[in-house]
């Protein structure tokens, strides 16, 4: 991942900017684009690219190698995602596909795209915040409290808004 583009828009966080530049510099654009149809099974509408777990697309000896890094090490969605990646590529005529589970670089919420964060908010999940200052996704109040450090999945915590009393998931900064 050393094809750093010097013309990165400065407002993007550097980790995501590097990912974006890498993807744009890749010679396998059609495959990256095809994989934008693969969603995280637990987060409706969030693609694996936007979530930040899609790391690399390579063609090695006629075989497509797709690198995916798990969010949390015990994430049960990993196997579904592997199957979905293969299915998406197979549907487009790519039969020889291998999905590699890579541990390095370790996934972090910095790898998420701005589109992904906006999408989370649209489905009432508070997106990760660097200092864990959690805003209610419904009324935008910052007056919120943690109910439980784990929500419906390992990557989320359960919060409540003190102003509108909405209970919501917060996608943890990690």
């Amino acid at each position: 991942m050393n094809k750093m583009n010097d013309n990165i828009i400065p407002t993007l966080n550097p980790v995501f900017a590097k990912r974006k530049a890498y993807r744009e510099g890749s010679e396998h654009k059609p495959i990256w684009d095809l994989l934008d149809s693969v969603f995280d099974p637990e987060l409706p509408g969030l693609t694996i690219w936007d979530l930040g777990i899609l790391q690399d697309v390579r063609l090695i000896d006629g075989e497509w190698q797709i690198d995916v890094t798990p969010t949390y090490s015990g994430c049960p969605a990993v196997e579904t995602i592997n199957a979905d990646v293969k299915a998406a590529l197979k549907a487009a005529g790519y039969d020889k596909v291998k999905v590699n589970l890579v541990l390095s670089p370790a996934w972090s919420t910095e790898m998420m795209s701005p589109v992904g964060k906006a999408h989370l908010k649209s489905i009432n999940i508070a997106p990760p915040h660097e200092e864990d200052r959690v805003q209610c996704p419904v009324c935008d109040s910052s007056n919120t409290k943690v109910v439980s450090q784990f929500g419906s999945t390992a990557c989320k915590a359960l919060y409540q808004c003190n102003d509108c009393f909405e209970n919501f998931d917060y996608f943890k900064h990690f």
Partner: protein, 253 residues
Amino acid sequence: MNQQQQNLFRFLVALGDDSVVLSHRLSEWCSNGPYLEEDIALGNVALDYIGRARMFYQYACEVEGKGRTEDDIAYFRNEREYTNLLIHELPINDFAFTMVRQFFVDVFYCEYLKQLMNSSDETIAAIAAKAVKESRYHLKRSEPWIRQLAEGTDESLRRIKDALLELENFVGELFLMSDWEQSLVEQGIAVDRAKLQKDWDAYVQKFLGESNVHFPDSQLQIRGGREGIHTEHLGHMLSEMQYIQRTMPGLQW
């Protein structure tokens, strides 16, 4: 495998055993938690440890090169072949006990894994980098619980003290080095556990002290896990954990 590979294999399996055994204990809280959110939280911590065990076991199998899988390691070894440190296998007891144990191991892993990230073995370093983030988050949850229980009612304080009395005897083993682990330290692969004890003691004593709880220094240090000598509890736990695979080997969901 040569001697070096054997040591590495032993090390990976031991770390995997620590994780899988604690994970199973935590999972015993499913549907028994004090309330729904805590129930889910404990299940999620268990899930992180399962993931950690899988990573260590998968790499162990790769090093061994005999075609065994993580499931073979987890489900088809007996009690005496398990080499987890004893603190991980103790029964869940009450919620205070579970959280004190969690606090102890969280403090330990936050430092241990941080140092393991410098391992000269790239796979181990990558696993540690992944796992340390999870342990940091676990600590963020176990600390407020210890605080809340220690400063809560007489009953919750009594339970915290009971848990400390029981668990203090199992802390020393976290910092015990064996010859084979020492040789891995010399190769830059493993971490010298013994060097972490002073900081661990200081951190835990300070934290408990802020809630006016004294952590007694135990003279008794129960050990044996790394040699396969366990408390009477592990066999019972494994019989439950391994039952299905032992009855119907190779069964899949």
